[in-house]
Each structure stands twice: as C-alpha cells, then as structure tokens.
C-alpha cells in the first residue's frame, strides 16, 4: 500500500482521536488545575503539635499567650501571639502590636541577626563576631576613661522600669558617667506632682471604679498607660453607663468615645481643671474635711490660698476666656462632677505622648483632692510597691556636670532633649560616645533632628537593638538583641495603673542566630570591660538577674510560667499624706523649699520669670495654676500654626516599629494612596491657607519639615495641623520605609520650666503647598 497524503491524514486523524480517547488530556487538565491550587510559591504552613506559653510584651505591658507549633521534621515555631485571658489587667485583650509581634520577630527586613561594626576607613558596616564588637566598644570606652572622659559617655534607654534599665544605671554609675537618659514620660511629671502635693508617688487612677470621669487632654483610648487595661475600663463604663468627658482640642478617638467632648484651646486643659475646681469650691461641693486639714487652701500668712486663687482667677468666665470652652458647658460638667459620688479627674501624657506640664498635673491632682478622691474607690489609689529586689548595692552616680544641665534645674529631672542640645552645642562638653539600648531615639525623638545631630557629633555610637532601625543604621557598632519571645526580660507597672503590675518574659523557642537578650548584651559588655563595671554587673545572664530581682515574688519557675505578678487588691482607703507637713498641700511646701533654694542661688536676680511666673504673683509658684505653654508663646507670623500629633495603636507602640499588618490597617485618613502621610486641618483654617482636600503640603518648623497631604477634618481645632505619629521610617525595609513622614522631624521641643521636662506636644509650624499625589 502507498503511504500518501490521504493515508497519512487518516493515520493522523486516527492518532489524534486515539490520544483524545485516552486519559491523557483530561488527566492533564485536572492536574494543571490542581497545580494552580498548589503553586510552589504559595506557602504551606507546616502542621504539628500545638503548645501555648505565657509571656508579656514589654512594649505594651499586655499579658500574652504565645501559640507554637512543633512540626515533626521542621521543628517548633511561633504562630501566634494572643491575649492571656488570665492576666488580671489585660484579660485576653491585645493591641495590634501584640497581635503582630511575630512579624517583627520573624521579618528578615526588620531584624539584626549578627553584630555589626562600621569600618572606620570606608564607613561601610561589616558583620563581625561578638568578641570583636564587644572588644571594640570596651576598648573605646576604656580609652575614654583613660583620658578621664568617662563622663562624656551618653547612654540612652527607653523604659526606666525594666531590669535592663537597672543594669544600665549600674553600668553608667560604675563606669562613671552621669549622662544616662530614658524616654521622657508623663509618669515623671505625675510622680512630681503627687510627691509635691501628697508626699506619695506610684499613684494610679481607679478608672474602672469611677462613675464619672473627666480626662484632661490625655488620649485615654489612643496612648494612655497599658492600652488594653484602659480599654477594659471603657468596656466597663459602657456596661455600667458611666459617663466620661474628654477635654482636648481635637475630635480624637477618645473625644469620640466620650459622652461629652469639651473642645478647648490647645494647651489649656489644666485651666479647664482649675475652672471645674473653682466651681466645686464655689458650690461648696468639695471635701471640706480635707480642705480644712490641707496646707495652703485657705489664705494664710504667706499670702492668698488656693481657694482664693480659684475663686478669683478661675471663675467660669475667666476660664472660658482662657480655654474657649463655653461657660455653661463647663459648669454642666462641673455640676456633674460634683454630683457624681465617684467622679475622677485624669491627666497623663498628651496626644503626642509628651510628659505634660507640672502645673496642669497639679491642677488635676488638686481637683481630685477637692473631690476627696485620694485612696477612694474610683479615685486615686497609691500602688503597693512591687516586691522587687535591687540588683546589688546602691551605686553612686557620677557627680560630674550633666549634659542636660539638669543638676541646675529646680527639680533636677533628666531631660533627653536638653541632653542632646547640650551634646550638640558641646556645652559643657562634647559627647565621647553614645550607647543606645533598646530604643530608637533617632526616629522617636523628641525632635528627631536634634538627636541625629547629637549622634553625628559623637565619635562612637553603639546600638543594642533587635532591629535594624534608624538609630542602628547610623551606629558604628550594632549589638543584635533578642525579642521578648526568645529572651529573659521584664516590664513594670504602666502609667496610671491603680495597681502594681509586673511582667516577665522568657525564651520560648531557642531560635537560631547570634542575638542575645538586651540585658545579656550589657552583661557581656560589662564582662569585657572588667573592673568596676564588671563588678557592678556581676551576673552570668539575664535569667540570674531576674531571679535576683524577683526573689520575693514566690517560686521563680511558676512566675516565669505565669508571666506576670499583679497586686492582688487595690489599696482602697489606705492613703496617708507624707508631705513634709504630713498634710495635703495645695501650696506645696516642697516646691517652696526648692524655690527658696533657687532664690538663694539667684541672689537678687529674678529667677521666677525663667520659670514662667509673674514675679508679682510669686505665691502662685507653689500652687497649681494655669501657665501658658511655651510653644504657644512661640507662635508668630513665621510659624502661625500649631502642630500636634495624632496617636494611634495602629501606627506604633512605644519605640517599636509598626508591623506590616499594622501598616496594612492604616486607613486612607492616615496614610493615603502611594504612601502619602495625611494630616488633618480644619476646613476653615485650610480655607484661610488656600488648601483643599488632598493638596500636597510641607509642614515646616524651625527644626525641620515633613511632607504630607491635606485632609480637611471638621474635628481638627482651627489654627492647628494634626499629624499622625509613628510613620515615615527610613529603615525596616519595604513594608515600612518611606511610608509617610516622621512627625518628630518637625517637632520643636520646648521645656516645661518648673519640671524641667521636654515638651513636644505642640510645635509652632507653617504650611506650604507642595506637589502631592491623588488621594483615593
């Protein structure tokens, strides 16, 4: 037979039909469909036995439960951080930072995995061994000491309540430098106010016990104390129909949650408190027993008392003029405050997290005292001291002049901003080295640009940190720290908590890598340093440190298992005034002594003006009163607007970076399409400035500028610009880098004259149009 075209066609058709009748085609069809269900680039999380462990997130104070999975071949890993329902304060709730802590822990882009040392010649960072890194740092420090410049070494930390911070104090004291600073906090201001007027510190607000609450400018539900515990209070208020009032210039989340929002002019919250106090006194609705005992309530030999001050200077009309809060609104709140059996006045960090003003806090404390709130359920409670032991004998701090000049300030408080300013100015000396432990001041400020200048100035910058953050990027030596999930460490009581709480975390999974617990980094450095320092930090490791610290908290294994220690009962009805007079003091004898000393020092120079006090009204200086914040005074033609921060649990928590998931939940009102920072401006103000929604702008202050686009928000106080905080990182890789801009870059730090603490809640700025991207 021939094999011609026809034959071939028939054969080919047959072959095609034959192949078609075979399972080949349908099977392949099915398999490629299955292939799309199992693409190799879509991960298959390994399964295995589940286990749980308790811990604490030191950044939020939340008691957490960590979920782990152990795969037969791939080993154990963390899969989730959840709330610990047994924790008496956080009761199972979490913040976004807690819930996504694992993204920080595991992200390749965020973490530092090995010690890093910057080649002095090329300036390029190099990965080195621990030995080399530690020897280098120790060597440089020894060199300084040998040169007698040990006091020029600066050490910066974040939270002064941890075991690591105690190690830092011991390190600096034994090494011989007075320049140890932590992030300034409202706890400092509040402790001052409390000690000055009641002789106690460690005082908290019994939020859950209160039946009527007025919060003076503190973002209760954005950035106050332990975020979860505070929110539990909100939940209880709602269930029990507790009303609460928010006093602040912006329609914030807290203001939105409040039953009444008193919109006041920026920085005048303290005046509102005084106005309410005045109304209470006028109506006789105050704790007369306490008042009759108290120092400086009635007029006395040394001049008019607090009562007279209130009734004269803080009448509703006057307060309305200062604060912009209408008189009737003010009185309505005052009446409700007077009427409620358990009414509480709260103060704390302001929206930008700044430490607040001493006189304002004193005003709020005075209001509470007038209400008879001290030691009362739903009032102010003194906390039982944590049963912790010191890590050794008390060491003397070097008596050398401090870079922040704090030793010359009335209350001698450390001031990180002043320290930086001193360092930059080289006054009284240049910084020899800066060691930053577990914090990222280059981003978190205050006034980031100032910190950057200081670091630029310092010959040696050392960063001990789990993350390759902005500070670490700039450091000469980076020591990789572990996250709380893989290391020993602890956390103290949060601001405002009515009971003491202690958290402890331990290594849960032995993760590979070279990082060490933050404390262990310090211990290792101390060991290499030898001498006094090694003696002051004579512990094998952080576990030993904590065992020593917690020796009085019962079985250590159980404590570590549980993850927390919390004061059992609030101390209700247990409040005694420990002022030098032994009495409540509306006019602080402590302050009077300080002022007296200052007067002595000043000779006949007028030192009061420097404290912002009218020398004619010198008797005000020891009493709560309204003092115009410095920043307001600085508003002028050039910088006609005030900038304030917008806090949010979604953007950041303490000095931690936001996780990718947190970035993901930012709304268009915070970070707009194509990563533009969004700032809020009142439509009226915007109109004056000729700005429309979505306009691109630059916000400039004397210290720096940030880029943003405009969102017109009716709830923003006129004359102000509100800026989300925590964005605009320049580190951490693609999930975080270059997203928005950093509020701290435009901050102008001022100082609260009496407390000496830095203030960055309000900065005078101006706004310029710039090119902006469309807003979706």
């Amino acid at each position: 037979m021939e094999w011609d075209r026809r034959t071939f066609v028939k054969f080919a058709v047959g072959a095609a039909l034959g192949l078609g009748a075979s399972p080949l085609a349908p099977k392949l069809t099915d398999d490629v469909a299955i292939w799309t269900q199992n693409w190799s680039w879509v991960p298959e999380p390994a399964d295995g036995e589940v286990a749980f462990a308790n811990s604490v997130n030191p950044a939020t104070g939340t008691g957490v439960k960590v979920r782990m999975v152990a795969n037969r071949t791939k080993g154990q890993r963390f899969i989730r951080v959840e709330g610990n329902p047994d924790h008496p304060l956080s009761r199972g709730g979490v913040t976004p930072a807690d819930a996504t802590a694992l993204q920080l822990h595991y992200s390749d882009a965020y973490r530092v995995r090995a010690p890093q040392w910057r080649e002095p010649a090329t300036g390029a960072p190099r990965r080195v061994s621990w030995d080399k890194a530690l020897n280098y740092v120790a060597g440089e420090l020894k060199k300084l000491k040998d040169q007698g410049k040990e006091h020029t070494v600066v050490m910066l930390g974040d939270d002064p309540k941890t075991a690591e911070s105690e190690l830092m104090m011991r390190f600096m004291a034994s090494y011989g430098s007075p320049n140890l600073a932590f992030t300034p906090s409202a706890a400092q201001t509040w402790d001052l106010a409390c000690v000055l007027m009641s002789g106690n510190y460690d005082i908290g607000f019994d939020l859950e016990g209160a039946e009527y609450v007025v919060s003076f400018g503190t973002p209760l539900f954005e950035g106050f104390g332990a975020p979860v515990a505070t929110r539990k209070a909100l939940s209880a208020w709602r269930d029990n129909d507790v009303k609460f009032v928010q006093v602040e210039p912006r329609a914030s989340v807290t203001a939105g949650r409040a039953n009444t929002w008193l919109a006041c002019k920026p920085g005048t919250e303290g005046a509102v408190a005084l106005g309410i106090a005045s109304a209470l006194v006028k109506e006789g609705a105050y704790d007369k027993d306490l008042a009759s005992q108290a120092l400086g309530f009635e007029d006395g030999g040394d001049g008019p008392g607090f009562k007279a001050l209130l009734l004269n200077d803080y009448t509703p009309e006057k307060v309305a003029a200062i604060t912009g809060v209408p008189k009737d609104k003010l009185l309505k709140v005052a009446k409700a405050f007077a009427k409620a059996p358990k009414a509480l006045a709260v103060c704390g960090p302001d929206n930008s997290g700044d430490p607040g003003r001493l006189y304002d806090f004193m005003a709020v404390l005075a209001l509470n005292m007038l209400k008879g709130n001290l030691g009362k359920e739903g009032g102010l409670l003194v906390r039982q001291p944590l049963p912790v032991n010191p890590l050794g004998e008390q060491l003397k701090v070097s008596a050398k002049p401090r870079l922040d000049g704090g030793h010359e300030k009335p209350l001698a408080v450390t001031n990180l901003a002043a320290l930086a300013e001193g360092a930059v100015k080289g006054d009284p000396y240049k910084p020899g080295a800066v060691i930053i432990v577990g914090s990222n001041p280059l981003f978190t400020g205050p006034q980031a640009n100032l910190i950057r200048e200081m670091l630029d100035k310092a010959p040696l910058v050392v960063a001990v940190t789990p993350f390759m953050d902005e500070t670490a990027q700039l450091a000469d030596v980076v020591l990789p720290a572990k996250t709380f999930l893989e290391s020993w460490g602890d956390s103290g009581t949060a601001y405002g908590s009515p009971v003491s709480a202690y958290g402890i975390h331990k290594p849960l999974i032995a993760e590979p890598g070279e990082a060490k617990a933050t404390g262990d980094c310090l211990l290792a450095l101390a060991k290499v340093m030898g001498g006094e320092v090694a003696k002051a930090l004579d512990f094998d490791n952080m576990e030993k440190v904590l065992k020593t610290k917690c020796a009085d908290m019962g079985d250590f294994r159980k404590l570590a298992e549980k993850g927390y220690w919390v004061q059992e009962k609030p101390l209700i009805g247990k409040f005694c005034f420990s002022t030098s007079s032994g009495r409540p003091e509306f006019k602080s004898s402590g302050l009077e002594i300080v002022l007296m000393r200052m007067a002595e020092k000043a000779g006949n120079k007028d030192f009061l003006a420097g404290l912002g006090i009218d020398p004619k009204k010198a008797d005000l200086a020891a009493m709560p009163h309204y003092q115009k914040p410095q920043a307001l005074a600085k508003v002028d033609k050039k910088y006609p607007l005030l900038m304030a921060g917008i806090p949010s649990l979604r953007t950041a928590q303490a000095s931690l970076p936001a996780s990718p998931y947190m970035m993901k939940v930012l709304s268009d009102e915070t970070l707009a399409y194509k990563n533009n920072l969004v700032v809020e401006i009142n439509p009226a103000t915007a109109a004056e400035l000729g700005l429309a929604e979505d306009d691109g702008i630059a916000i400039e202050s004397a210290s720096g500028e940030i880029k943003a686009i405009v969102h017109l928000f009716e709830g923003a106080a006129p004359g102000m610009v509100f800026v989300p905080m925590g964005l605009g990182h320049t580190a951490f890789g693609e999930y975080l880098k270059d997203k928005g801009d950093n509020f701290q870059k435009a901050v102008m730090v001022t100082t609260d004259a009496m407390s000496g603490l830095p203030q960055w809640g309000l900065s005078p700025v101006r706004v310029k149009k710039a090119k902006g991207a469309a807003h979706v």
Partner: protein
C-alpha cells in the same frame, strides 16, 4: 488589515501581562470587580444575539427573506461569542481552573447558566458556521464534505431551535446576573419565579439590537467593499423586527425603570439621586433610554426611515449604542454606586492592558469577518445584486 494585526499584537502583550502577572495589570479592584471587559463581553453577546434571533426567524419562523443575511448573522454571532469567551478567559482570576464552573456548577448562579449556555451555543454556532465554510469553493470539491454540508443544511433547523432556546436563556441570564444582586439596589429587580425582570429585559434588548447590529455590519461591509451584499428590503425587514422589539423593550424597560425608581428604591431608603452622582449623572439614563432606545425605536418603526440607507444605518447604530450603554450602566454603574452609606464614590478607568484586550477582540472580529467574506460565500445575493457592475 495591518492596523488590525497591530491591535492584535497590542492585545497579545496585554493578555500575556494579565495572565502572567495577574489582574493587577488592570484597574479593576474590589469595588469595580468587573471592568471594561465585562461590559464589552455583555455588549458583544447582546449584539451577537443577531445570530440566534435571525436564525430563529429564518429557520423556525421561516422568514425566507432572511436567508440572505443569516450567514452574516451567524458569522457575527460566532465572532461575538468566541471573542466574549476569550475575554472571559482572561477576566477570571484562575483561567486554568475555569472549567470548575462547569464541573462544580452551582445551579443557582446566573453566571453558571451563562457559562453553560454560551459555550453550548458557541458549539451550535460553530455547527451553523460549518456549512458556510464547507461551501468554500476549494472544500466543496471533496465529495464527502459536500455531502456532509448538504446534510448539515437540512438539519440546521434543529440547531437553530437549540440555539434559540439556549440563547433566550443565557441572554436572560446575563440580565439576571445583575437583577439578582439584591445587595446592589441599583441593579436589583424583583421578577417572576427565579428570574428578575432584567432577565426578560436583557432578552428583549438583545433580540432588538442583534438584528440591527448584524445589518449594520453588513452595511459597513457594503460601504467598505463598495458592493451591494444584501438587498435593501432584507435590511428593512431586519430594521422592522429590531424596531418592533425595541418598542416592546422601551415600554417594558420604561415600566421597570419607573417601578424601580419610584417604588423599589425609596423602599430601601435610597433616594434616586444617590444613583446618579458624580460622573454618573442622569444623562446616562437619558442616553441609554432616550438616545439608545426611544429614538431608534421610533425611527425603525417609521417606514420612511427604513427606506433610507443612511437613516436606517443611523437608527441601527443608535439601537446598538443603546444596548451597549445598557450593558455599561448595568455593569459599571451598579458597582460604582456605594451601598454602604459611609463609603465614598470612586472612579474607574481601564489600563492600557484592558483596552488592549478590548481592542484585540474587535480586531479579531474584523479579521475573521474579512476572511470569511473573502473566502466564503457569505452573501447569497451578492452576485445577483452586483451583476450590473
């Protein structure tokens, strides 16, 4: 032709990007879940309705005159349907497992109905197309194939009937697709049994514009080739059919719109003005219904208009415009109108990749139609009408 191949090349690049990189190459998003492709899909399937309806009239109702245009109708139908299916293949996120829609079909879904019917009907169209191909002079020479073609012709009525049945259904289901979206007050319609009114309206609208589109394409081809291909009375008949159906459509669609606007919409707490905000103003409603339905209906029902070549073409073009507008409104406006009161309106503009695919489908149609016209005896009257020349 070169121009067409240029468009096809653009489409190929677009298709590659969309398939390889995914649908992030488009400007669709979770608000505009459907975009220009679906609009075009719906539109060409509506316009392609000429195939089944002309088939129905020709074979089932024995409108002998329409024999002269049925081939063109079938080819246009084939182009529209195959083009639509091709686009759908790119439009879905997982084309490789697209067949799950058949294998794991959900009988309650209008889309299932659409998928089944349009694929089945495409097969029917191919079968209807076959005899035309087999009439190619080269192919006709093969005796077996000739016989086959002849047999096919004889049972074509069965396929026409099947096609009619399938098409009535899926044209309706395409409308049903939107009418059942009771989460979308703009699109939702009550209806009869399981079919929302849009089901019936889409059928009507499709069978009203299908014949127009077929005729319009024929007229364009006439202009392009300079030849007369179909006698004018056939076109007039097509116009009359289109016009009659369009008139019914106008009445029913009007009733539907009034009910929807004044009873249904307020009933869910929405003001009509809510549906016509931002870029989607009331003008759309007037364009779709006035310019695209009432006017062509009146024109097509006017014998004088039908007589005039130009006016007939204009009326038919408006008719097609109305159908396309309707599909656009049903797809895009439905999705554009925020349902959550606190959501704001966002706009959608296709990317070049989206336009590329769209252009490609049109180019594909032009190429196929040219080729068939060139190689196959599409127009039985062609020789007769052009004898003079």
């Amino acid at each position: 032709m070169l121009f067409c191949f240029g468009l096809l090349a653009w489409a190929a690049v677009s298709a590659f990007l969309c398939l390889y990189k995914g649908l992030n190459q488009t400007n669709m998003n979770d608000y505009y879940a459907f975009g220009v492709w679906i609009v075009v899909d719906l539109a060409i399937i509506a316009l392609g309705a000429g195939a089944f309806f002309t088939g129905f009239l020709t074979y089932l109702l024995r409108k002998e005159e329409l024999k002269n245009i049925i081939n063109a109708a079938v080819i246009i139908g084939f182009i529209c349907y195959s083009g639509a299916i091709g686009m759908l293949g790119i439009d879905i996120g997982q084309p490789i497992r697209g067949w799950f829609g058949f294998w794991h079909a959900n009988v309650h879904s209008m889309l299932t109905e659409v998928m089944f019917c349009i694929t089945t009907y495409l097969i029917v169209l191919i079968i209807e197309f076959l005899p035309i191909i087999l009439e190619n002079r080269q192919i006709e020479k093969v005796p077996e194939l000739g016989g086959f073609a002849h047999h096919l012709h004889r049972i074509m009525i069965v396929f026409a009937a099947t096609g009619t049945f399938l098409s009535f259904f899926h044209q309706g289901s395409l409308g049903g697709m939107y009418g059942v979206l009771y989460g979308r007050p703009f699109a939702f319609r009550t209806g009869f049994a399981i079919w929302p009114w849009t089901f019936f309206l889409f059928i009507l609208s499709a069978i009203a514009c299908g014949p127009s589109f077929t005729t319009l394409i024929v007229m364009i081809t006439e202009k392009a080739t300079g030849k007369k291909l179909v006698s004018h009375d056939v076109k007039m008949l097509m116009g009359k059919i289109s016009g009659g159906l369009l008139a019914v459509y106008v009445v029913l669609k009007g009733a539907d719109t009034l009910y929807w606007a004044f009873v249904q919409t307020p009933g869910t707490g929405t003001q009509l003005s809510h549906f016509y905000q931002q870029s989607y103003g009331y003008w759309l409603l007037f364009a779709e219904l006035g310019l695209g339905a009432v006017i062509p209906a009146l024109m097509l029902l006017t014998p004088a208009v039908r007589k005039s070549y130009g006016l007939l073409a204009l009326a038919m073009a408006l008719n097609c415009f109305g159908a396309v507008m309707n599909r656009f409104v049903q797809t895009i406006q439905t999705l554009a109108i925020p349902v959550l009161p606190f959501e704001s309106f966002i706009t959608y503009m296709p990317t070049w990749q989206e336009w590329g695919i769209t252009a490609g489908v049109i180019a594909y149609g032009m190429v196929i139609f040219s080729l068939t016209y060139r190689y196959l005896p599409v127009f039985p009257q062609e020789r007769k009408l052009n004898q003079a020349q």
